[in-house]
């Protein structure tokens, strides 16, 4: 009798535990979770793929608006994350496949952004360990990429204690807006202050230092290039693929070009081989403004996406 009562209490305790946990997870899931969450909360027919430059530099709103009269599967989601989460590899390809639902697998538009960082790995990491390394990313830890709310994301990858997420849900960052279609918008002008040229210059210099350090510590991975080609092949079977190199500051570009001098030629030839357009805007830094040398600020991102839409139109069919 005593044992039965004890087991009953234990079961009840764990039920209360699970209930309270799920209550707070649900509360968090329905607010602003973090910078990545909105990339995993909707089904997508078309995708923007790449690292942080694409995450911040290509707006799905503008693509939707500019390409309104053209046929491609909607909705379009910005599924580019950053150099710590979404370099080319089996893990990213698997996530892309899960993000695209069956009913859309016909006529997608896939804007694939590339730069040298998309293909790098730490020098200390062997080629056959890259996959295991990538499995530690968010996209390697979750199975669900399309649900709202996405409990899988919060339970398996949300790195903060739940209390901090609940507190943050009530606040809104003035310069940093995370849209429901996955686009991360960085605005120079906030409600209370404006990011000045001096700030931008400081951030750019910091970014240059980080880039130099990273280049010294990293190498180009054959695995990533092979997986990139596999990704292109897969995307080609389900829609139109556009390869893009997004503009960045001239000093950043200089370092990148020094680290990989024939980058553009190499990817031109890959694009030719697979009959994919490669739109290289890396030398158009004077037309767009970055907030740190690498990433386009909001207005430039919209301007760039408009120009990109114009260039994409010839590759799409009218409605």
């Amino acid at each position: 009798m005593r044992l039965k009562k004890f087991i009953l209490y234990l079961v009840l305790y764990f039920a209360i535990f699970a209930g309270i946990y799920l209550f707070f997870v649900d509360k968090l899931a329905n607010g602003l979770v973090d910078q990545y969450y909105n990339k995993f909360t909707q089904e997508a027919g078309s995708l923007i793929i790449g690292l942080s430059r694409a995450d911040q530099g290509i707006s799905p709103y503008v693509l939707d608006e500019e390409l309104d009269g053209f046929e491609f599967d909607r909705s379009i989601t910005n599924f580019a994350i950053n150099a710590h989460q979404s370099k080319f590899g089996e893990v990213y390809l698997n996530a892309i496949q899960k993000k695209l639902t069956n009913k859309h697998k016909k006529n997608g538009l896939f804007i694939v952004s590339i730069n040298p960082s998309s293909f790098s790995v730490p020098k200390t990491l062997n080629e056959d360990k890259v996959y295991e390394n990538d499995k530690e990313w968010i996209i390697g830890k979750i199975e669900n990429f399309t649900s709202t709310p996405n409990y899988d994301y919060i339970i398996n990858t949300y790195p903060q204690p739940l209390y901090s997420g609940l507190l943050r849900a009530t606040r809104d960052d003035d310069h940093h807006k995370i849209h429901t279609n996955g686009w991360t918008e960085i605005k120079l002008i906030g409600k209370n202050d404006t990011i000045k040229d001096n700030d931008i210059s400081i951030w750019k210099n910091k970014n240059l230092e980080i880039l130099k350090k990273n280049i010294a510590k990293e190498r180009i991975s054959k695995y990533r290039i092979n997986e990139f080609v596999k990704t292109l092949n897969y995307l080609k079977t389900i829609g139109k693929v556009i390869l893009v190199r997004i503009p960045s500051d001239i000093d950043i570009l200089k370092i990148e070009n020094e680290s990989w001098p024939n980058f553009n030629t190499q990817f031109d030839s890959i694009a030719n081989k697979y009959n994919i357009p490669y739109l290289n805007y890396s030398n158009q830094s004077d037309k767009y403004k970055t907030y740190d040398g690498s990433h386009l600020e909001s207005e430039s991102a919209e301007k760039f996406t408009r120009m990109l839409s114009l260039e994409i139109k010839p590759y799409l069919n009218s409605k």
Binding site: L3, I20, F24, N126, D128, I155, T157, Q160, P161, L162
Partner: protein, 480 residues
């Protein structure tokens, strides 16, 4: 399988229910199968090593009482060479070859052609989880049988369970056969107060891991990621936090291990006894990772001094060298351990003169204890910089920038609340350890009236749900 994973949350109740439902004669099989499953979740193929160690040691020990002394010695050698051989092959081969290569390079000799070096791929050998723990555990068994301290276990299943008992398989405590095997054979009846104590210890361990150690880990990672940081105070806080992180992380594992075993009626040995309150290095090592310290004392230090007549200083240096090497195949662990040995040797060498000075100056006991504590803990904690750094060079850079008094900025995680919470949690845990020790934390709950207990249970849920760091980090000592 991690104790702090959802898999364990399912595995554990199944094991307990199966254990108490089955008759006594079948329980060893249930626990053995469960233990092997527990191990195989991580890397199934490596269970073969566990089986090899178990089989070799079982048969070597079984033969020992019936053969001549010479043959007995041969059997011991077979056991030692098999276990140490596996350990060397899977844990130290790459370290050994790369160290030899480094030394030869230093003298201008390049024996390995860099073009072919990659083909050896020693660094690709997978490190079996907990190999150092179960190797030492099973070695202690054959040595004890050889010394005639215990009789060999005849039941292969029970012996295999002793080597692989899941609560302590991958990170200890390193149990002696004389303690654990009789318990494994003993008939266990359901004992609710014992189960409660076990569950409270598990809950405490989980709290230590996901709320305290992993939280400290966030700051530690930020500090050690940038050893060239100009924020010297942040570097100081970084190594202090790491010292508590590794303590709580390991202590959490042990607490869950002891608690898990207790729910099935088994008592594992305590691995910590308030080490942070030690006032001397010798005392620290009697209170920190007790099962390893005792192992090294009984199976290495004692023979070196008694049988091979080495001086105490030489024996201490050898023991601490092995201790460092046991922790990991990296010079950083060896340097860390030898720094500990250095302080211990100084302590032994200056004991008489220190006592004289204290008597002459008539220093109060509390002041002597406080000074001892401050010096020992400060020194031992700072030596952990080597333990945490990826290389000796990184550790030296860390020291250099830490002592370069620069910026007083400490908030390197951009979150003052988390920083203050981390410090507060250390104070709370240390207070609890001070009053209750490491292994009787359950008294905090069991000695309260029912309504206070229920409030504590509820508060526990809220604390874990809201304040746990969701990193699903493996325990630090898993890598050893």
């Amino acid at each position: 399988m991690l104790f702090n994973s959802f898999e364990f949350l399912l595995f554990f109740p199944i094991m307990i229910i199966g254990f108490y439902t089955l008759p006594h004669k079948n329980r060893w099989l249930w626990l053995l199968l469960g233990s092997y499953f527990f191990y195989m979740v991580h890397e199934p193929s490596l269970v073969l090593l566990l089986i090899i160690s178990t089989t070799v040691d079982y048969f070597c020990a079984l033969k020992m009482p019936s053969v001549s002394n010479k043959r007995k010695k041969h059997l011991l050698y077979v056991s030692v060479f098999t276990n140490i051989g596996i350990l060397f092959l899977f844990k130290y081969l790459f370290f050994f070859t790369s160290s030899i290569e480094g030394i030869l390079k230093f003298f201008g000799l390049n024996i390995i052609d860099t073009g072919h070096a990659g083909s050896y791929n020693f660094n690709q050998i997978l490190l079996p989880v907990g190999i150092s723990f179960y190797t030492f555990q099973t070695l202690s068994y054959t040595i004890d049988v050889y010394r005639g301290k215990i009789l060999p276990e005849k039941h292969f299943g029970v012996f295999a369970l002793y080597v692989s008992f899941f609560p302590q398989l991958v990170a200890g405590p390193i149990e002696r056969a004389s303690r654990l095997i009789p318990q494994l054979k003993q008939k266990i009846e359901i004992n609710i107060p014992n189960i409660k104590k076990g569950l409270i210890l598990i809950a405490w361990g989980l709290f230590l891991k996901v709320v305290v150690a992993d939280r400290l880990g966030v700051y530690v990672d930020a500090a050690f990621e940038n050893p060239e940081s100009p924020h010297s105070l942040a570097l100081v806080l970084g190594f202090l936090f790491f010292s508590f992180q590794i303590y709580y992380d390991f202590s959490a594992y042990v607490s869950i291990a002891i608690g898990t075993a207790k729910t099935m009626g088994y008592d594992l040995m305590a691995n910590f006894n308030r080490p942070i309150f030690s006032t001397s290095t010798a005392q620290f090592w009697q209170r920190w990772h007790i099962s390893l310290s005792h192992w090294l004392r009984d199976y290495l230090y004692a023979p070196l001094v008694k049988k091979y007549k080495l001086s105490r200083v030489t024996a201490v240096l050898i023991v601490f060298f092995v201790n460092g090497l046991w922790h990991g195949a990296n010079w950083t662990f060896i340097v860390w351990s030898l720094l500990n040995a250095l302080l211990l040797i100084i302590e032994i060498g200056t004991l008489k003169i220190r006592r004289k000075i204290i008597n002459i100056l008539k220093l109060p006991k509390w002041l002597v204890s406080f000074c001892g504590w401050f010096i020992v803990i400060g020194y031992l904690f700072s030596s952990l910089i080597f333990f945490r750094s990826p290389s000796i060079n990184d550790a030296l850079v860390y020291y250099k920038h830490m002592f370069n008094i620069g910026s007083m900025h400490i908030n390197i995680i951009n979150n003052y609340f988390e920083l203050c919470l981390s410090i507060l949690l250390i104070l709370i845990v240390q207070t609890i350890h001070y009053y209750k020790g490491n292994s009787k934390v359950y008294e905090l709950v069991t000695e309260r009236p029912p309504y206070v207990r229920y409030c504590m249970y509820f508060m526990y849920i809220i604390i874990i749900v809201l304040f746990a760091i969701n990193r699903q980090n493996t325990f630090i000592y898993f890598q050893f």
